[in-house]
Symmetry: C2
Subunit: 221 residues, 2 copies
């Protein structure tokens, strides 16, 4: 009953473990110790063991971890053994790019519908999917068992659209709009704020420059 809540720090690391294990599996590696994995991934072996043990013991003393098994188990923890039906709201450049990106399907995320408020896009077909007007979302969500909505629309309309999606019964929103959505408890939101990411990059360039300048002036003093 009193489940120890897994911290978001741990969860954020799981996809990276999954990626490395997938590659090891692909390379035919059968087992790996936390020590070896730690060298590969440049994190501490201690953190790896702690992270995995949040979900129970996946390893074996004196042996290490079975790559195939661990890969499967992390996949299950991430819910990748389940299928998810998505719709994309906003069939602009980014929406189309995501619709065209095949790799998500491989992980069980299947794009079922595309919607846009721009009538000139209606009827456009992207990967066998026709762009439909926004008015069709409501029925489409109900009839096609959609659980995830991808928001690739400008921030001006994103908050309203998100609210509607929740009413239509959507379970989760993958939000690319540069605005914080306000959704009720139990609706999952994952933000991808590209401009935030670019600003962090900019900060780090800038910081490196000024530290360099400081170091140089110190040498000349």
């Amino acid at each position: 009953m009193d489940e120890k809540e897994i911290s978001q720090a741990v969860i954020s690391r799981l996809p990276r473990y999954y990626r490395y294990l997938g590659e090891l599996k692909f390379e035919g590696v059968e087992r790996i110790s936390s020590q070896e994995l730690s060298e590969l991934m440049k994190v501490t072996a201690s953190q790896i063991r702690q992270d995995f043990n949040n979900f129970g013991g996946f390893g074996q003393q004196g042996y290490g971890y079975n790559v195939e098994y661990l890969y499967q188990e992390i996949g299950k923890i991430l819910g990748l053994d389940k299928k998810h039906n998505l719709i994309i709201i906003g069939a602009g450049n980014l929406g189309q790019a995501l619709a065209n990106y095949m790799n998500f399907e491989r992980r069980g995320f299947i794009i079922r519908g595309l919607f846009d408020c721009n009538s000139r896009l209606h009827g456009t077909i992207i990967r066998d999917i026709e762009v439909q007007p926004m008015e069709k979302i409501k029925d489409f969500v109900k009839e096609n068992d959609i659980d995830i909505a991808v928001l690739t629309i400008p921030k001006a309309s994103a908050v309203d659209v998100a609210e509607q999606l929740v009413q239509y019964g959507i379970r989760a929103i993958w939000n690319f709009a540069h605005v914080d959505l306000n959704v009720p408890e139990g609706i999952q939101v994952e933000n991808v704020h590209l401009s935030d990411s670019l600003m962090r990059l900019s900060y780090n360039i800038n910081r490196y420059d000024s530290e360099l300048a400081k170091k140089n002036s110190a040498e000349n003093a």
Copy 2:
């Protein structure tokens, strides 16, 4: 000399502050207290004050913070007062979407070149920029003072291309390829791993479901 290093946790929050302050400024709000901002942004006032004070005193006791001034200062910290020249490597759907996205230019990130290994794309023009073959990157970087490269290519070639870019003198890489790059000290990398993000969303949907199931079975016990 002994600069207190600013933690990445703080830096990650700066773009969000910047966004909120930009909106407040746009709405004509002149001053704001940490208390008011904390209610708006749903973080503690304490954290806001701590964060800002990493960079010096931006506020005034008894008054709060001047929105316009604070917005400018955070912009400067993020390096948004400086121009950056970018190139995009990989003119597929995602590369084109980013090239078409105007908002980055507003913040001083100017896309100068587009490159792709697919010869069928060469000569295609996106927002006045012609897609060029990969062989042209080297000279282009030197002649156009490029500091940021956006990597929107498949992971198979990403590591090699990144290595080359570093040799050509690039300063920073905005990496959309699903692989960890290995770059020397001083080269900034910011990863946007979309599939990792989607997996986190998947985890949270899954977790919510199983918690609900647990709660229900507990009630029936």
